[in-house]
Amino acid sequence: MANNIRMKAEHVDFYYGSNQTLKDITLDIYDHAVTAIIGPSGCGKSTFIRLLNRMNELVPNSKLEGVISIDGESIVAEHMDPVDLRRKVGMVFQKPNPFPKSIFENIAYGLKVNGQKDKGLIEQRVILSLKKAALWDEVKDRLHDSALRLSGGQQQRLCIARCLAIEPEVILFDEPCASLDPISTSKVEALILELKKDYTIVIVTHNMQQAARVSDFTGFFYMGELIEFDKTEVIFTRPKDKRTEDYITGRFG
């Protein structure tokens, strides 16, 4: 796969207060590919992925060292507003978190805060996003019902649709299936594979089969360090590090 590098982390250290949570992470995220981040609970996967859209700078007393860049430019550069970055780098969270608004309003929200006023265009984009997120058929008759009345799996696809509506280029998924049943999980996985054509995707998962199924590259995190990063098939068939091998074969974690 001859991919361009889209985002890059170089010697990234991250601290919550005085606790160092990430240690010297250097990792490339390739364009139009799915990069999976795996590792045991608490190893810093969420922390890492939340650095990529500057979500973690909301945590008081946290500190970032090293450089994270997108298209060769540091994401904390002077002229790089976190709001602009987040429009480019969307995020889907572990627990589905639709707003307590209607299905329609949930998706229109991102467009409205980004200055879109044209009602017709908003409606078009809502429909398109729901179709892309494979939710349209299930909700087309009740767009103005509360989003909170959807099932967990539908809510998560709504969150994906909401994210797609603002046309990001990179999408970050933090364990998007952790709270879903197997059928919803397979729907979301199929969706991610579909989205790969148009987007650059980073997905955190602690489900090894999921990483193997959907990703092109895999990074294994352990206690705040990136132990190994390679093509997914290499990680899952010929890992170089003993710890990676132990983890993917289920000997710890």
Partner: protein, 297 residues
Amino acid sequence: MIKPFITRKHQEKLIEWFFFLNGIVVVAILAGIFMLLLMNAIPAFREVSIAHFLSKPIWNPDAYDQPTYGLLPMLVSSLMVTVGSLVVAIPLGIGTAAYLSDVASPRVREIAKPAVEILAGIPSVVVGFLGIVLVGPVISKLTGTYNGLNALNGSILLAVMALPTIISLSEDALTSVPRSYEEASLALGASRWQTVILVKIPAAASGILAACMLGMGRAIGETMTVLMATGNAAEFPHSFLGPVKTMTSTIAIELGEVAYYTTHFYMLFAVGLILFIITFIINLISDIIFHKHTRLQ
């Protein structure tokens, strides 16, 4: 094992009874106040009809030939200063709460939150004083009115007094909005202000509404401040720049001078009863809203 004198079960029963009794006492006091007002208000209507009380636009108990006891002037006065204060306090209070909960740096918050609480503790007579020496002259300068002791002055002061309630309860409501809503909004490229206004305030709406209702309850029952700042002219109010005499002021001023057991005396209790009912309803509504809010969380 020796069986203890009071078993655990008895102990729990005792505690339960203790709290039950406390509850009863509070309800009894409330009912007692209501009865006291009611018993003293009833004799007022031996000489004057209820219709007279509720419909006459004049309150003039000292008229030589025919005293009138119309509730309307003071009811309208009370509503004017209350509504006026809310017009100032609600936007300012919600704005401040949003700023404190979502935009202010932790250091600003550390200073501002205790300051708001201190504001709540300022005696109302001191606020009234400010009305006379500060707000009054300013209003007088700006509008060319005689001394600036009017409904506008009262509204501003009551706003100051309702603000702490509105700010701190609204802030609590905003803080209890699930963090996941906020994260979702920010991750979609919304700014912090957009997030507060479009996501957090709607999600906290019932808590904020309850806060405003409580602030309103505080404003309508406040006495000393309005007594000092509103001019107390016993006429039907026509403008915010004219003096008004609220229900609370009327009671406070006249109850000290009135001859006991006269119609005028009993009438003041009738006014008190109306005030009691109004504040009771406001508090009840805010309580209902508030409980609905906490149940949804």
